[in-house]
Symmetry: C2
Subunit: 319 residues, 2 copies
């Protein structure tokens, strides 16, 4: 039984995810060049930077320069990532250009919460209550619960659908206590444990508890299954995905320095368009943007499609 | 509607596909080392070499040394690729170690037939009639029709399911005329045009004409969709796949020197096992064999999984 959506909403995170883990500094002008190129492809949601501790993430020391410097295209929503009040204040300084939405961010793995955030799960719940209140106090609606390590964790092993539901219950309790109305669950495969079978089981379980809340997926290609995972999710009617041009990115905190990045936007777009699911994206332009990203970082990116070229490119040669 | 198989038959082609395209010579002893390592993983079908024109494919000038030199493991079927009578004779010299099956090999794309074989489609049909007779005259049963470029072609563009059916009809006519009983259609995505949607349409169309003939898939990861394609095919009950350890391979004749190789055996095994489909393969041992393949060729292979490590490896760390 399939329930294919008519269109998907792709949230491009290449600039934010990709540039934060590059070993060398990337010029702000190059970051802006990629952001502006991506906006010309038809992508309507682009995360442009991360307002994080610049000591921990030196690759985003220039978040303000990028947020201030790029030219926004009408009809495109731009976002910046933030995790705390300081980051939110930095984002709010650009509220004329950025779309600022609030989140409750949890992790299904206790091991990852301790390793990545240096908090126990209950400390993290308390922190998220404060963060939910804080965001709303600054006029930012909290509508989304994010769950990291939703399909497995390098520090804890398998994560069951029941653990994801438990984490979402924690999140919904935080939302209820702090007056937030949740419309979206974002499930992140932070360390690349998802497989189509896990995607199917977890989505079914989450939907059985919250049939009216939309599900978004943040997939990594760590073990090569990201596109297959998206395929499984599309068959279940999932309509929102994060992805990165060229497969930029990866998780520098997960103990896998050679791990592949996020699901490639190009490959996700090819998958969707071939299934008759509209993305609004011009794939040939997107492939060019992916090649620009590769040129900017100066090393080969994981996307196979940017190297092989689109079907259209060969159709034109064959015609 | 899904019809998941209980098990799949994986035909490992890494040694044959992979070593034929490496620019430098690979020592016969290294080829044998990989073949013997693969046989220890639980793989039961391994294509070990190519009995082809050594002037055109210098990487297989040592086919006899490899076929003669490796130690066969009981319960494992080893094959060698051949395209003509000379290749078949060379394979038959090792009939005590190799399983030798006959094929009718066609291409759904006229453009590729002309470019790759330097024949018109009708010339190729005549050649295949002679080849079918020849194989049978040497006691080799012809039970398989192979179709290259079954999902699209860099020289011709899209290939429709109707074109694949037409090609298979040609093949069945050759089989009928030459007294061959066909039990398997092998559809090859030679240049990486397949997508899950194309897989579904083509398999449905082929089955509507020949419901009782098994379908095998030979997938390339040229555009990053190979694992998603396998996922779509498994959902349709396809039970035979070719793949290569580490993602070795690629097609040196398709005008894409940077193209990725075949679907990675490791990622295919992970996909299947997670879907509850038995492969008989020890994934951790297979990942080690993929890493051995990478060490032998001396450059990074496309498999993400051999770099990230298996879920089991992290389960052990987390435990």
């Amino acid at each position: 039984m399939t329930d294919l959506p008519s269109h998907v909403e792709i949230h491009e995170e290449g600039p934010r995810e990709g540039f934060q883990i590059e070993p060398g500094p990337i010029a702000s002008a190059d970051k802006i060049r990629l952001i502006e190129a991506l906006a010309e492809t038809g992508l309507q949601h682009i995360q442009i930077c991360s307002f994080v501790n610049t000591r921990l993430v030196p690759g985003w020391a220039d978040a303000e320069a990028v947020a201030g410097g790029f030219t926004a295209k009408a009809g495109v929503q731009y976002t910046g990532l933030f995790f705390n009040g300081n980051g939110l204040d930095r984002a709010l300084a650009f509220k004329d250009k950025l779309t600022i939405g609030g989140s409750i961010s949890l992790t299904a793995s206790e091991g990852f919460t301790r390793k990545n955030l240096n908090r126990s799960p209950s400390e993290n719940i308390e922190a998220m209550k404060k963060h939910s209140v804080l965001q709303q106090s600054k006029g930012v609606a909290v509508t989304r619960i994010g769950v990291m390590a939703a399909f497995g964790c390098n520090y804890q092993g398998d994560i069951s659908p029941a653990q994801v539901v438990g984490t979402l219950r924690d999140g919904m309790a935080i939302a209820a206590e702090t007056g937030a109305a949740i419309g979206l669950f974002s499930l992140a495969d932070t360390m690349g444990w998802a497989t189509p079978a896990r995607i199917e089981r977890t989505i079914a379980e989450v939907r059985s508890h919250w049939p009216d809340i939309a599900i978004a997926l943040h997939l990594h290609d760590t073990r090569g299954l990201a596109v297959a995972n998206a395929h499984a999710a599309l068959k279940l009617g999932v309509t929102q995905f994060d992805s990165t041009a060229g497969g930029l990115g990866g998780c520098p905190f997960a103990g896998q320095p050679k791990a592949a990045g996020n699901i490639c936007t190009e490959e996700l777009v090819l998958l969707c368009e071939e299934m008759g699911i509209a993305t609004g994206v011009d794939l040939d332009a997107l492939i060019e943007a992916g090649r620009l990203a590769e040129a900017i970082v100066g090393h080969q990116l994981p996307s196979e499609l940017i190297h092989a070229g689109s079907l259209n490119a060969f159709r034109r040669i064959a015609a």
